[in-house]
Structure formats: C-alpha cells, structure tokens
C-alpha cells in the first residue's frame, strides 16, 4: 500500500471515529477512549504532568537560572552556564509570575489558581511563607525599599499591596481589566502594570487597555497610559536608563468582518513604546506580509539599547528589532504606522525560530544571551544575541512523549494552521479563556450578527455550540468552521482535530471566587437563588415556564442546551432571533453579555435589554432583588 493510501485510510478511519463520537456525544473525554497518534500508544492523559515553563529569570549575580514551570507547579533552579538542575521547588497551584526581592534573598511566586504568593528563600531554595492575595495573582514585584510587594490580580482587576515583612495585605489599587504583568522602572520610582483583557468600552467601539502607573513609595496609582486599539497587553521592559519602555500587545480588528486573513487579517501583533525618549506612546507593528509575529508576549530591551527582543507564542519565534533604526523610522513617520505591514521590514533584523509557545524571555546582564521559556515543549532556547541564533536548547525534566492532550494544547496555541500563520485559537481565547470582545464573523454574512466571544472553560457537554447553535459538537466547532472561516488555510488532519477537541473539552472552570469557602451562601446569594428558581411572581401569578430563569439556564452549567425563540435581544443586524441559552459558568468574569455583547454588565441585561420581559420575568423586582439575583449569578 502506498504511503498516500495509508494516510488516506488512516484519515478515513479517524473521520469515522470523529463522526461517531460527535454524534454520540462521546468526544474523547479523559476517561473514555483516547486517540492513537500515528500508530503509537500514548500514556494516559491524567497521569502526565508537563513542566510547561512559562517564565524565566536570571539570579541577580547571573549564576542561576530560575524557571517558573506552570504545569509542574514548581520553580526549577538551574546552573546558568551548564544548565544542570540545582533544585526543583514545589509552589502553589498554577504559578504564573515571579520576581526577586531587591536584595535577591527572596523569590516571590504568584499562584494564580489559589490566590497566594509563595516566598522562596534563595539561599535555602525552599518556600518559607505563603501569603494571600487578590483573585488570580499573575505577577509580583517588590518596591526597591523592600517594604512592600505589589501583586497584579487578573480577575479581581486590581493590585494588592502587601507588607513585604509579614505578607499582610495593606490595600488594593484599582487597575485595568485583567491586571497581569508588573514591571519596576529602573530607577525604582514607579511600577507599571499591563492587562490581558480590554477595559469596558462603548458597544462596538475599538478596544482600549491601559498601562497603570503606580508610585512605588506612596503605593497609589498616579497615571494611566491609554493603549488605544490594544485589547490584550503582556510584558513590559525598560531600557536601563529608564527612558524607553516597551510592552507587547494584540491589536484586534474586531469591528470589521473577520474575513480577510488574506489581506492582513484579524490582528496586528505589536509592541507599544513609551517613555521620555519618545514623549508619547507609539504602536509598532511586528508583522510583515507572510511573516507574522502572532501572540507577542515577552519583551526585552538590550542594555545598550541596540535591540528589542519579542517572543511570539503563536508564531513560535523571537523577533529581533534594531532599536536605533526603529527610532529613526518613528521620527520619519510621526503620523504612526501601526497598520502598515511593510513597516517592520525597516527595523526587524531577523526572526529566530524557537520552541513551542515561547513566552517569558530574559537577557543576561551583558546582553549576550537571551533565554526563552518554551511553554509547550518543555524547553528553554538559549540565543546568542550576536549571532542571532539558538545556540542551545535545554530540555527540562518531564515526560518525553507528547500526549493527545498536550498535542491538542499545542494545536490550540500555535498559529501555524491559519493562512500565513496569522492567528491561533489562543488569539481570541487568551490563556484558554475569552477576550471580552464582540466579533463579526463571515458565515453569518458581512456586517451581520456581531457576536460576543464566550468563555470556553467548562464547555464540554454543553453542545450545540455557537450562539445560534449551528455547530452540533466540538469537532465541528473547532474543525471545519474554524478552518474555513477563520484559518482560511489547510485543514487539520483528523488526529490533530481530535486532539484539539480533547484539549478544549479538558478546560475545566477555574475556581469561582464569589463562592464562599465550604460553599456556604451569603443571604443575598440565597435570596437571589430563590429568584432564579421562582415559578410565581410577586403578584402571585404563575411565570410562564419559558420565562423562568431556571428553565432555559437549567442544569449544573446553567444551560438547557436548547434554542429559544426571541428573548427580546435581537437587533436588525441579527439573521435570527433564535438563540441558544448560554452556559453561566463563571459568568461574572465574562462581560460584555448577551449574544451581541450589548450589555456591559449583568445588571444591564435586565435594566436595559429586557423591556418586553422576554428574557425572564424581572419587572416586578425591586432594585434590591435584582442585586440579589446578580449576587447569585456570580456564584455560577
């Protein structure tokens, strides 16, 4: 049998398997059958824990490399010269960010899933304290005086200020939405915070994020630098003189129909420069036609201000920018050039392929070596910055086989499947969540049906998918539809689609922060639950069953999985008013609401968008009672 025939037969068999599983609703949950990858048996998905290096730091003296391993939930300490493992230090659940104390004696690690900071003694290399923070702490910095720690809390949208001696939280500062990455300015006077979700904005207007600037000594917010058009911003770095800052960001084109990947697409992958060298913010595109820098994340400015390095998680490369040439280009183009795909050829020196899903990067003090954490293949790339080449790839201890789940996750984050490698699933599902944006998708018609992008945690067993329920299962949602209308490129092979579907099904909801420990409910939540489940209104009248909250939003995930005709929210832009009742999983996090993202808050669903009372009987409620209903919904 020829190789082509073998492939065809294997593809046909996998297609039959997919079709069967899709129809039967048995899509490859971890406890069920697993796909077989290219003829090899792979280990059970439950038993595999990959290191998943997310961030990397050099010790202040440069002798050690610290690697934050999100999957292993540990910090690996390596010799910075020969990369021998010195110690593996277990930390809390799903660590996300880390930094040293000013004297280097402590390493602080945020544990995003359990809302704590682990304090590691860098002499003993062990955790010596664990401190409480806000919800989903994502990065941490200490102010130079060593008195306070600042922690960015992604889903409480604020910054905890902790006493660095005791860990006691002193206060919370209001940040932007999705506060995630903190950087101390070189002179120690300010702390800069970026955000992975856009701030709330008017319906169908361009997204906007901010850099929150904190006075480190006074621990108050003193400035907010707007990032126009940027929905998701990640790391910041400064030049050693503090006069130039750079942050990575995604600039989505969500206000136009997502149909033109072949014309330069759905996102601009950019860095935004700011600081005294410029006196303003300047958004700088990294993309070039056919060479995109999808999902920019880490950034490092060379000590001599000669280069900027940017990791791109989707494109699996590091972009090297000639900084003097870029500054010259900026001076020659004062009107801005963020949308110009021809611009980057004037300042990008090279693009260096690295491992899978490169994230955190750090430069050696002399700028000669750049270390890159490749999250999805458990390696570190070591780049010689003179040669602009990877000179060493350090494999971290962990499973050698790639499980189906791991392959699915790699598929989710890579941009290689889309036309010219422009986007991946993770462009719109930031860290496998949501993006807070409303998009216009081509299948519904140009300019038709703007739709809110939903959270994908916990979506298994909530089919059909899409607001209009047109995708019967996850393989259809992630496969043909995505390939045709988003990727505009080659199809996944069936094994890849199966693994991707397995990964999406594995995304469990993160802990709900509104639920009390032990799952007790507050009086307001209890009253709200009664309203959610009521069958009789306050005048003693029966509420029609289709107008009861509990009818459409039934079951453990808050969806009956049924489509309903006209809940009063359709607009002239909608092709149909028949919509699926969406799940309520972690609903408090995912504004905006309704199928078209028109409601900016849970309250607005009823105070503004339910005038005909088709979306539940609510007109008889007092404001107190509506607040109770919202309090209950936040616990879902």
């Amino acid at each position: 049998m020829s190789q082509r025939n073998q492939h065809r037969n294997r593809t046909a068999a996998a297609s039959a398997l997919l079709a069967f599983l899709g129809v039967s609703g048995l899509i490859l949950s971890p406890g069920l059958g697993r796909p077989v990858h290219a003829g090899e048996m792979r280990p059970s998905v439950e038993s595999i824990s990959y290191a998943s290096p997310l961030e990397v730091l050099l010790s202040p003296d440069g002798s050690r490399l610290y690697v934050l391993c999100q999957g292993g939930e540990d910090i690996r300490v390596l010799d910075a010269q020969n990369f021998a493992v010195i110690k593996k230090i277990p930390v809390g659940a799903v660590p996300r960010g880390f930094s040293f104390s000013p004297d280097g004696a402590k390493l602080y690690v945020t544990n995003s899933s359990e809302d704590t900071v682990s304090v590691i003694d860098t002499a003993k290399l062990e955790v010596v304290a664990t401190w409480k923070t806000g919800a989903e702490p994502s990065s941490v910095v200490a102010e130079p005086g060593g008195r306070r720690l600042f922690v960015a809390n992604r889903i409480s949208n604020d910054i905890s200020v902790l006493d660095a001696a005791t860990g006691v939280e002193q206060k919370r500062l209001s940040a932007g939405r999705g506060a995630s990455y903190l950087t101390l300015a070189p002179d120690g006077s300010k702390i800069y915070a970026t955000h992975v979700y856009p701030n709330p904005s008017a319906y169908r207007t361009a997204p906007e994020s901010e850099i929150t600037v904190i006075d480190a000594a006074r621990a108050v917010v003193v400035d907010r630098i707007p990032l126009h058009g940027i929905a998701h911003a990640f790391h910041i770095d400064f030049s050693p003189d503090g006069r130039l800052g750079a942050t990575t960001g995604y600039h989505p084109k969500n206000l136009v129909t997502l149909a033109h990947l072949e014309h330069g697409g759905a996102f601009e992958d950019t860095i935004t420069l700011f600081g005294a060298d410029l006196g303003r913010t300047v958004e700088v595109p990294l993309d070039e036609l056919e060479r995109y820098a999808s999902q920019p994340f880490g950034v490092a400015i060379a000590p001599d201000k000669s280069r900027i390095y940017i990791s791109s998680g989707g494109s699996e490369l590091v972009t090297v920018i000639d900084l003097p040439r870029l500054m010259q280009y900026i001076r020659l183009h004062p009107g801005g050039f963020a949308h110009d795909l021809s611009a980057s050829a004037n300042y990008v020196v090279t693009r260096i392929p690295v491992g899978l899903n490169p994230r955190g990067i750090t430069l050696s003090r002399d700028g000669r070596r750049l270390f890159v954490a490749n999250r999805l293949d458990d390696t570190l790339s070591v780049i010689d910055t003179h040669a602009n080449k990877v000179v060493s790839t350090v494999r971290l201890e962990g499973p050698k086989n790639v499980s189906a789940l791991r392959h699915g996750e790699q598929t989710f984050y890579t941009s290689r499947y889309s036309f010219q490698g422009q986007i991946g699933c993770a462009n719109c599902h930031i860290d496998s969540t949501f993006d807070g944006l409303t998009w216009n998708l081509e299948p519904d018609g140009f300019g038709r049906n703007p739709v809110d992008n939903k959270l994908i945690e916990g979506i298994k067993d909530t089919e059909p998918y899409k607001w209009t329920g047109t995708n019967p299962d996850i393989p259809t949602e992630c496969g043909p539809r995505t390939e045709k209308y988003f990727w505009r490129s080659e199809q996944y092979d069936d094994i890849t689609l199966t693994d991707l579907s397995l990964y999406v099904r594995s995304l469990n909801p993160r802990p709900n922060r509104w639920k009390l420990i032990g799952h007790e409910v507050t009086p307001a939540q209890e009253r709200g639950k009664a309203i959610f489940e009521r069958t009789i209104d306050k005048f003693g009248n029966q509420i029609a069953f289709y107008n009861r909250c509990i009818f459409c939003h039934s079951g453990p995930k808050g969806t009956s999985q049924e489509l309903f005709d006209d809940v009063g929210t359709s607009t002239p832009l909608d092709n149909t008013s028949r919509l699926k009742a969406p799940p309520l999983t972690n609903i408090a996090l995912t504004a905006p609401y309704l199928h078209n993202g028109s409601a900016k808050s849970l309250e607005e669903i009823w105070t503004i968008y339910n005038p005909q009372e088709k979306h539940g009987r609510t007109a008889d409620l007092t404001k107190d009672e509506l607040n109770d209903l919202v309090e209950y919904l936040r616990t879902r």
Binding site: V221, W514, T522, E631
Partner: protein, 243 residues
Amino acid sequence: MKTKHQLAVICTMAISLAMSLAAQAPQMPKFRFENFTTANGLPNNHVFAVLVDGPRVWAATEDGLAVYENHAWKTYTTKDGLAHRAVLSLALDKNTGDLWAGTMAGLSRISAGRIDTYTQLNSGLSNDVVYGVSVEGENVWVATAAGGCRLNLRTGVWTLYNERNTPMNEIWAYAVAATPTKVYYAIWGSGLLEYDQKTGRWDKYDDPDGENEMVLFKDQGLIHEIVTSVSYVDNIVWAATYF
C-alpha cells in the same frame, strides 16, 4: 431638585500675619481671601462641594468636576466619562488616592485620570441621584434619592439600605458620614440614621416634638426631621437640619 446649600464661590483663607505684626499694622486684614469663579477658570459658579487632596483642590460644580492644581483649574466633564455634569458630592479614598463624585446621574470614581461610572442601570447603585458619598476602608457609602448603598470595593457587592431594612421612613438620603465604627445617614424627612459597623444594627435620631414649624423640646433631639448634612469626627456627630 432640592438643592443643598449652594456656595456661590470658593474662598481660601489663610492667616496672613502673626498677631504681633497685626498689632503693628491694625489696618491690615487678619485673613487673605482668594475667590475663585468662572472668571479665573472654575467651570460654573454653582459649587456643591469642595475637597482638599494634598496639593489639589476639587470642586463639585453644576457644570463638571474641577480640580485646582499648580495654580490652574482643569475640568472633567461627561466627555471624560463623568456620570453627569452636575456634581453634588465628593469623597476621597485616602488609601488609594481615588476620588469619588456623586452626581445627578450616577456615581463616578476618578482614579489617576480614568473615570469609572456606576449607575442604577449598569450596577447595583440604588438611584442615580447621588447626594452624598463617603469612603471608609474598602467600602464606599452612598446617599441617594432612593436610600443608601454600600459598595464593597474588594468583592464588588452592593448592599442597599432603605425602608425595607432600616428605620428610614423616607428614602431621600442627603448625606452620609462613614467611619470604621459608625455610619450616619442624613435623611430628608426621616431624621438621622446611625449604623453600628460592629453589630450591624441601625438606630435613629428624630425631632422629639415632631413639629415642623417650632421647637417644643429644646436640646432633647434633632431640631427637625429634615436632615441635610452630617459629619462624624472624634465621636461627635454634627447634623444640619432645615429649620
């Protein structure tokens, strides 16, 4: 609208000279007044509240929120995100430096130039007419035309106070003064309400004679049921009434 006392201008007073100097020059004034009006940058001469915040002075005017800094006024308006042009009340969160402004159409937080607005439609705020605001710890206490509210900044939970859960006969809350121990609400037509932070209990101070036009019981309670302003400092409550 039942406006509170309106100040026509903002005045700053400073003791200009020592007493000895005053004795040498008795004709010189004891204080130096500097008046601010639209003539020198204030957006409107109807000023409902003023608040000193370090080197800055905030003025709640009928036509925007003005801040005086470095010898110049700057005005925030609805274009900047302010809930309404008419600003009625101000409170400073000394912990974070954020300013809270109650307006005729919602509550705004001004934080390093960014303005977030809470209304009765987009949040748990009980009513858009916000007569009073006070910050205590992580709680923002609000006096509105439909009772009082408390927003917990850490949890985002709104708690409403009205005739259903307090001795508030009328729900026209005109002012609030919040401290870690007690919270006082000045209620138009329903006296002075006291909330004990430790016990969660409400108490009420009324006009003991119940008369609108005269005072029969001198120094035995409030002068009148219409209370328009309240302050609580050093365990002393000051309440302003209509008559």
